[in-house]
């Protein structure tokens, strides 16, 4: 077991996801790149329908240099269980089984298979890259689309301004299973994300990481802003970096003051239509969440 910290200097130079056809500035592909770099060559990867399978497996252009397969949309986690069982039957040692699904593939379509895998405590890693809508099929609302976001199925009109529902609390839904390890991360805070992938790889049981991954195409932002937005969302309090293990929640980052939610929202095309009271509502929901997290969770 390797417990040395992986940094910009020490991370392997090998690339396991290369030449893919994701949009320029894709946050999801940045997440996949680092997941596979941290886990290394001896990794079985299952990816359901979604951007990452659409851009990575364009026969005969195959961009995963390791063992990777497309799973059914609802069956990411069950395929992971199957791979883990198969590897055990073959008496393989020293390997990882990882599933990388989008927000729709996790919070909507794949949630029951994920729930089952956690229940069985299979030794697999499930990573949800959250770009807050079904981007691959043309930006439809998912269970993880935030309040007020414009998608093709939640258009911004005079009466209803974008998504009327709030983001599903996927991290705590997973934690409520009593999972061995769960964490949230953001591609803007890469070192934190890398540490969490490394930690997940050493867990004897199921682990889940929810990584926030901006999508320039779907969000109406420039391709070079991906990383800044992924940092800003954490700084303004609309996303949080946390971990769950041994029945305890830990807040990894607890900012004393938040940066402007309005600035974060206004910089994105999908929130341009929001009115002042919508933004106030979003701030209110943020404050309510943080009040609860600060009261009940351990913070470092």
């Amino acid at each position: 077991m390797n417990t040395t910290k992986i940094t910009a200097r020490s991370i392997t130079d090998r690339e396991f996801f290369y030449g893919h056809k994701a949009c320029a500035g894709c946050g999801g592909s940045l997440a996949v790149r680092h997941i596979l770099k941290v886990l290394g060559e001896r990794t079985f990867t299952a990816i359901p329908a979604g951007c990452m399978s659409a851009v990575g497996f364009i026969y005969p252009q195959l961009c995963f240099t390791g063992n990777a397969i497309i799973s059914t949309f609802p069956g990411t986690a069950s395929m992971l269980s199957g791979i883990a069982a198969g590897a055990k039957a073959l008496k393989l040692n020293n390997f990882h089984v990882v599933g990388i699904a989008g927000d729709g593939g996790t919070a909507d379509i794949g949630i029951q298979a994920l729930s089952g895998a956690i229940d069985r405590r299979d030794k697999v890693i499930y990573i949800c890259y959250d770009n807050e809508a079904y981007m691959n099929t043309g930006i439809q609302k998912s269970g993880l689309t935030p309040f007020g976001a414009k998608t093709t199925t939640t258009p911004a009109g005079e009466n209803i301004r974008g998504s009327v529902t709030h983001k599903k609390n996927m991290f705590e839904i997973v934690a409520a299973h009593g999972i061995d390890y769960a964490a949230t991360a953001s591609v803007g805070y890469l070192q934190d994300f890398i540490n969490k992938i490394q930690k997940a790889s050493q867990v004897e049981g199921t682990s889940y990481i929810h990584v926030y991954a901006p999508c320039p195409t779907g969000w109406g932002v420039a391709s070079n802003t991906t990383v800044n937005i992924a940092k800003e969302v954490v700084d303004c309090g609309l996303w949080y970096l946390a971990e769950y293990e041994c029945d305890e929640f830990t807040l990894n980052r607890n900012p004393k003051t938040f940066t402007s939610v309005e600035k974060y929202l206004r910089s994105q095309g999908r929130f341009k239509h929001l009115q002042a009271h919508d933004i106030e509502h979003i701030e209110e929901m943020r404050d309510r969440k943080w009040e609860r997290m600060r009261r009940l969770w351990r913070s470092v």
Binding site: A8, G19, G25, P60
Partner: protein, 100 residues
């Protein structure tokens, strides 16, 4: 460049027997580049580079790679997104228009 796959020639199937039995193929087999996607390209001023490797870390394409005393770019696959220039604290990378 051995740390990453490179473009290979693909022999298109001529006969039904040339097709794979299952929907599977060799991992890391690249047949095309992404260079044509780019409207801007990153340029490094090596003297300003502090070797913090944030450009290397944050590149979604993995097209920034380390060389002795600097970084370099794989222009076969760089899409010109500009993240490397954005994350460079030393402002050693600038994006310039791609001219043909």
């Amino acid at each position: 460049m051995s740390n990453r796959p490179t473009v290979q020639h693909f022999n298109s199937p001529k006969h039904i027997s040339d097709y794979p039995v299952g929907p599977a193929f060799r991992a890391g087999f690249l047949t095309s580049t992404n260079a044509g996607w780019r409207s801007e390209r990153p340029v490094l001023v090596a003297e300003r580079c502090t070797l913090c490797y944030q450009c290397y870390m944050y590149c979604p394409e993995a097209t920034v790679f380390k060389i002795t005393g600097a970084v370099d770019f794989d222009f076969d696959y760089c899409k010109g997104c500009g993240i490397c220039a954005e994350v460079c604290a030393a402002k050693a990378i600038t994006m310039i228009p791609e001219k043909r």
